[in-house]
């Protein structure tokens, strides 16, 4: 098995482990931290997919910037929307 294939398999094992972790955490009494933990794990999974499966690890700055642009603008949308709803009344 080549190093490249082994690397992909390891990333997949990491993804499945994170899936098991996030489902397990959902049943623990974490209160308000629960959604935060779930989205933190989702972000970690997305990072694994972007870095290993989408091969951003091999890319230069420009493709990385292009891949990140959507997430950056989306975070602006989400942060400002949350700021509005959280600061009402």
């Amino acid at each position: 098995m080549s190093i490249a294939v082994r690397r992909l398999l390891l990333a997949w094992i990491g993804l499945i482990a994170l899936l098991a972790l996030t489902v397990g955490l959902a049943f623990l009494p974490l209160g308000a931290a629960k959604p935060a933990a779930a989205y933190l794990i989702a972000t970690a999974k997305a990072a694994l997919v972007l870095w290993y499966f989408m091969e951003l690890r091999r890319e230069g700055g420009l493709p990385r910037l292009a891949a990140g642009a959507g997430f950056v603008w989306l975070s602006v949308l989400l942060v400002l929307t949350a700021a509005d709803f959280l600061s009402r009344n």
Binding site: Y39, I41, V49, F53, P63, A69, G70, L78, F85
Partner: protein, 208 residues
């Protein structure tokens, strides 16, 4: 996309390949914004009505959602292995990995269809005669659920067709740069990433 010689306006194939990938990544960024609106809506709903949101989400089947997450993650692995196969010159391997990714994608859609059927029977499908909701918030949640998962399922279907096309394309399978297969795989991985975030938004949110 898979030709050996550079096409206008590119002087060399390296540059052309880079442009191909960059174009795909920019397109995927626009896809993120397309789904982003739905995520912003669910977030606003959850912030304003945390209890009702959880109650509405608890009607979804977590086991099926979890199974589908595992299926999609595994299909992403298959797509990544197909790229690796084409790059190392093992075209048959690449074709098989693409076929496996397509099969897993189809399995995902089958589970989704089974889920939809169950939700229809429970009267949770908006716009159907049997639909009955406990309140406007559950109605709104199910609207967003079908919008998000329906749009996502359409992307899964598109991805399957793209991967099938690549699996049947001899030029693409023998391309050591894996330009076509690489770009199709990029699309498939983004469909996977969207689901990675839909999972906590819809399914995990229903666990009390």
């Amino acid at each position: 996309m898979t030709e050996q010689a550079a096409e206008e306006p590119f002087h060399d194939t390296d540059r052309q390949e880079q442009a191909d990938r960059l174009g795909m990544l920019v397109f995927l960024a626009s896809e993120i914004m397309l789904f982003g609106g739905i995520f912003a809506a669910t977030m606003a709903l959850r912030i304003q009505h945390p209890q009702d949101y959880m109650k509405a989400a608890s009607h979804l089947r977590l086991a099926l959602g979890t199974a589908n997450t595992a299926i999609l993650l595994t299909s992403s692995l298959a797509a990544a292995l197909a790229v690796e196969g084409a790059r190392s010159g093992r075209s048959r391997w690449a074709a098989r990995a693409l076929a496996a990714a397509c099969l897993l994608g189809t399995a995902f859609l089958a589970v989704k269809g089974y889920e939809y059927a169950g939700e229809y029977r429970e009267g949770l499908m908006p716009g159907t005669a049997a639909a009955h909701f406990s309140g406007p918030l559950q109605r709104l949640f199910m609207d967003l659920y079908f919008l998000a998962t329906g749009l996502h399922a359409f992307h899964v279907l598109t991805g399957i067709v793209l991967m099938l096309t690549a699996a049947l394309n001899r030029t693409a399978l023998h391309d050591r740069r894996a330009v076509l297969i690489g770009n199709v795989a990029l699309y498939w991985h983004l469909v996977d990433i969207v689901w990675i975030f839909l999972f906590p938004t819809l399914y995990l949110a229903g666990v009390p």
